[in-house]
């Protein structure tokens, strides 16, 4: 036993890996609890942003109001729809994994990752548009000086969120799509699919709040 790996994936496809210090039920519960705890920390990371947003909005109400009209509402709405849809496919991927449909997992996660790309593209388009008008860090146009507080927090929030989108895409690819292509999952073992999906849902969840706060009510 002295050379044992902690997690041994050397098992027939569809079987859970052998973990040297716990059985697979315990491991599943542990992984899920661990993931939810991690999501809790992510929510609290954003909590700081929401709290700052609330205070800044309190002090700069009119400015927030005006400035939010400078955001592209339709880009925001489109992105919301994209993320909701990708969240849906991620959820479906879990069901597929539970049913042992590895192709389904790869396909649905694939769609989610693709949606992630779309989302980022729209965001890039928005950012470059803003930069063009001098409403972007480092290229501030003094004309928009009074919107700086709103835009500052807008970039912090959406930037952090975009970072999470990227991480989510990587996670789904590495822990969902890749093993699924090797028929790794089955009704007995689908933990990584579920965890990646949970992460992706969180990304969606945050956006559900960001969209109305930033684009609609300001």
């Amino acid at each position: 036993m002295s050379t044992s790996a902690i997690v041994d994936h050397n098992v027939p496809p569809g079987e859970p890996p052998i973990i040297h210090h716990m059985d697979s039920n315990t491991a599943y519960g542990a992984a899920k609890l661990g993931m939810w705890l991690f999501l809790a920390t992510e929510v609290l990371l954003f909590a700081v942003m929401f709290c700052s947003f609330a205070i800044m909005r309190y002090y700069h109400l009119a400015e927030f109001h005006d400035a939010s009209h400078h955001l592209n509402l339709w880009a925001g709405a489109l992105n919301t729809a994209i993320l909701l849809f990708s969240s849906y496919t991620a959820a479906v991927a879990v069901t597929k994994a539970q049913q042992g449909d590895n192709k389904g997992v790869a396909r649905n996660f694939g769609i989610s990752v693709f949606c992630g790309f779309l989302f980022l593209m729209v965001k890039t388009f928005e950012y470059t548009g803003k930069a063009h008008h001098g409403m972007f860090p480092f290229v501030w146009n003094s004309h928009f000086y009074e919107y700086k507080n709103f835009l500052g927090i807008y970039y912090c929030m959406t930037g952090l969120h975009a970072l999470h989108v990227i991480i989510g895409m990587v996670v789904m690819t590495l822990y969902g799509i890749r093993p699924a292509l090797k028929n790794r999952f089955s009704g007995k073992y689908y933990t990584p699919v579920e965890l990646s999906a949970l992460y992706w849902h969180l990304v969606d969840l945050i956006w559900i709040y960001l969209f109305p706060l930033l684009y609609l009510v300001g």
């Binding site: 859970p16 899920k32 939810w36 709405a77 959820a91 049913q99 109305p212």
Partner: protein, 120 residues
């Protein structure tokens, strides 16, 4: 001690003893997706009407409904146990505490009040 020897842990808090989590039919997910999209349309529409401070309240309420749907259905929250729910809710409670605590401050800042004098 070989690998095959799996130790059963007595008081694991994971639900039950089979790995099988709840399988949610794709149809359910689809219904929720539709509901989410409709709610999105409603938020956008509601924001076009000027309701004063009710705009933000409304937007947040709708967002919370959406978030609940995602947590309950997409994230299988409906089928999770109490302990998991504790940790699902904890960050939101803390967020509320944080905003609540900070808002005991800013809106009540020095209106350079003379509360002893003005109380007379």
């Amino acid at each position: 001690m070989g690998h095959a020897h799996a130790h059963s842990q007595a008081h694991t808090d994971s639900h039950g003893h089979d790995m099988q989590g709840h399988i949610v039919p794709v149809r359910t997910f689809f219904k929720v997706l539709v509901a989410l999209l409709i709610l999105t349309v409603i938020t956008v529409a509601a924001a076009q009407v000027d309701l004063g401070k009710w705009n933000i309240v409304g937007a947040l309420v709708i967002a919370s409904v959406k978030a609940s749907l995602v947590i309950l259905v997409f994230m299988h929250g409906k089928y999770e146990n109490k302990i998991l729910w504790t940790y699902i809710l904890l960050p939101f409670i803390l967020l509320a505490i944080m905003i609540g605590g900070v808002f005991t401050d800013d809106p009540f800042r020095d209106r350079i009040s003379h509360f002893k004098v003005s109380a007379e």
